[in-house]
């Protein structure tokens, strides 16, 4: 008798699950078909990059910074640290030409170098570059030596000086480890766009592009081919994944 009851419950659960599955399947299928499955490694078919048009980047605007803070949960989480100690994944930089007085504004973050100095100097390999060009820190093996921060020409990395709470599940952060822009890897792996680029475009500024530099047909590649794009500290030969127009 008991066995029958169990069977019935199983059958019911099974049918319910199948129905639910059918109901959401179209959306899921569409989504999964484009995104890279979780069990497949990133490949060098992609080289994810960004292009920033400084002519369209307004001085007072920091929509990209706000979007990054909201997406990755930094900015108001460090209450004990001084401003010099607080993490910044992306920041707006104002440039004034010493000779001409020409003023420019641009966002600065990890440049996702092809030959990243932070990865070279990291003793444990916690600083790493994925095959698709995204430079990340593995928080599990980062010992907090900060050599990567000494080596980064863009001052793109931050060390966490205090215990943190309420982190975003997709952007783990931790005391005593180093972090930086992840190019919103959690979004990119699901065929999304980094939060900063999305925000810049949604707000109508359209100063930032994101895409696959290895795909000659991608919008970012076409833009770069037509109008060019410079690297910050190109002399270092790092071949950055983030390029700037009008620098």
């Amino acid at each position: 008798m008991k066995q029958d009851t169990d069977m019935n419950r199983r059958q019911f659960l099974g049918k319910a699950a199948a129905t639910a599955g059918l109901a959401i399947a179209p959306g899921v299928m569409l989504y999964e078909a484009q995104a890279r499955p979780a069990d497949q490694a990133a490949t060098s078919k992609q080289r994810w990059g960004m292009l920033i048009n400084t002519a369209k980047c307004e001085a007072g605007c920091d929509d990209c910074v706000t979007a990054c803070k909201t997406e990755n949960g930094w900015g108001s989480t460090e209450t004990k640290s001084s401003p010099e100690q607080q993490a910044q994944w992306i920041r707006k930089v104002k440039l004034t030409d010493k000779q001409t007085g020409h003023v420019q504004s641009l966002p600065l973050m990890c440049q996702h170098c092809e030959k990243p100095p932070c990865v070279d100097v990291c003793p444990t390999g916690a600083s790493m570059k994925r095959d698709d060009g995204i430079v990340l820190v593995d928080k599990h093996i980062c010992i907090g030596c900060r050599y990567c921060m000494m080596a980064c020409p863009y001052k793109a990395r931050s060390f966490i000086h205090e215990p943190l709470e309420n982190q975003k599940p997709h952007a783990p952060r931790g005391i005593g480890t180093v972090e930086s822009c992840t190019m919103c890897v959690h979004r990119v792996d699901k065929d999304g766009t980094p939060a900063c680029v999305e925000s810049c475009n949604d707000k109508g500024h359209k100063a930032m592009y994101f895409g696959n530099l290895n795909d000659p047909g991608s919008e970012i590649s076409l833009q770069l081919k037509k109008f060019g794009g410079e690297q910050i500290r190109a002399d270092l030969g790092l071949n950055t994944g983030v390029r700037y127009q009008g620098l």
Partner: protein, 407 residues
């Protein structure tokens, strides 16, 4: 030359226990500071995302550099076969191990995640000079430990020369590795120079020998053993040569930088406009750590006095710490040149000179590492026979002639 007889220090006097007590207190203060920093996070230190390496690194790098130099005396006896240095080779070797352990302790305790040291010991990125340094430091301790064993164990004495050779080459590579931590940094104007590696080697000679002279004098004075003039004078002359060589390398480094206009900014910062860094460079590195010690060891009026030799050694150490401060902190305080020809401003303090105010905790951690090294030496010379029973000229100086002494 007679056979050298080695003896432990008795280590039962009030003075000995007072020494252990004072050093122990400093070590404890350093330990408590480290716990406090680890428990709270680095926000309680003066280190920031702008100045990422601070006072602990000044002391740690100084101690690691000095460790290699403390082996000078042993190397001169084994590699260059100078008999006058042989009696003190074991002390030189144990001092170098202790200094290295002191420096490494500071370095490890300053890590954001010191509990992950095992990760650093097991996962290596061989493109990183840091990873190489882990191997170089551990290897150094192992090689010098074997060297000490060969020197102290009579049956193994014949092999000590080979161990000495190995240790000598290893220490040169080790200090090259330490200097290259800065030499390999392309991002910052003050670093990225091949001269860093040889400059660190010559600094190690000076700092290590200065510490050795002081430890030797203290050990012999406080244990009531005789320390002959021949030994002390030989070492102070050598110290003078090393100090002069450090000044030479400093001049070569800055003059080379001054020739290229891209480096004028950072050079003006260190040499002229850098406030504390400029003062530490001229008064610390050049005057206190260079010119005054040179005068103390070479001007005939004071050159033979033990006090002036000890003072010269202390000044070389203080100058060395100032040098490390200027290189490590000053090198970070000067803004990274990201956009040449532009004034750079941002919420992340781009463009401006970075400020650093070390807190008590991080300073105590650094000083604690120094004290840890010294307390280990103090215990080692009591437990094992590192010190010759006498360093009187008649007993150890190969050029000693009785008739000269009687004149």
């Amino acid at each position: 030359m007679k056979t050298i007889r080695y003896l432990e220090v008795e280590g039962r006097s009030m003075g000995y226990y007072a020494l252990l007590g004072i050093l122990g207190l400093i070590v404890a203060a350093g330990g408590i500071s480290a716990l406090y920093m680890e428990h709270s996070g680095h926000w309680v230190t003066g280190m920031t995302n702008q100045i990422v390496w601070g006072m602990p690194h000044v002391f740690a790098v100084f101690l690691i550099v000095a460790a290699s130099g403390a082996l000078n005396v042993a190397s001169i006896s084994s590699v260059f076969n100078k008999k006058a240095y042989k009696p003190l080779a074991p002390l030189s070797a144990i001092l170098s191990i202790c200094l290295l352990l002191g420096g490494l302790t500071v370095l490890v305790l300053d890590l954001g995640q010191p509990d992950r040291l095992v990760v650093a010991m097991t996962i290596y990125n061989f493109k990183s000079i840091f990873a190489w340094n882990m191997i170089l430091y551990n290897g150094f301790i192992a090689i010098v430990a074997v060297y000490i064993w060969f020197m102290l164990e009579r049956k193994m004495n014949v092999y000590s020369k080979y161990a000495g050779f190995t240790a000598f080459f290893w220490r040169l590579i080790l200090t090259t590795g330490t200097g290259s931590i800065f030499g390999f940094l392309v991002a910052r104007q003050a670093y990225d120079a091949a001269i860093m590696a040889p400059m660190f080697i010559i600094m190690s000679f000076a700092y290590g020998l200065a510490i050795f002279i002081l430890v030797m004098m203290a050990a012999y004075n406080w244990s009531g053993r005789e320390l002959g003039d021949a030994t002390v004078n030989r070492m102070k002359n050598l110290l003078g040569v090393f100090v002069a060589a450090v000044l030479y390398f400093m001049a070569a480094y800055h003059l080379t930088n001054l020739y290229a206009s891209e480096n004028h900014g950072v050079e003006a910062f260190i040499l002229k406009d850098g406030g504390i860094y400029t003062q530490l460079f001229w008064y610390g590195t050049i005057l206190v750590g260079g010119i005054i010690p040179l005068l103390l060891v070479y001007v005939p009026a004071c050159a033979k006095s033990r006090s002036s030799i000890a003072l010269a050694s202390i000044l070389v150490i203080l100058g060395g710490l100032a040098t490390m401060y200027v290189i490590i902190i000053g090198g970070q305080a000067y803004p990274i040149e990201m956009f040449p020809g532009k004034i750079v401003e941002s919420t992340f303090f781009d463009g401006g000179v970075k400020s650093y105010t070390p807190t008590l905790a991080e300073t105590l951690l650094g000083v604690g590492g120094f004290a840890l090294a010294l307390i280990m030496v103090a215990v080692a010379v009591k437990v094992l026979r590192f010190l010759p029973a006498t360093m009187a000229d008649a007993a150890v100086d190969p050029h000693y002639k009785a008739e000269e002494a009687s004149k």
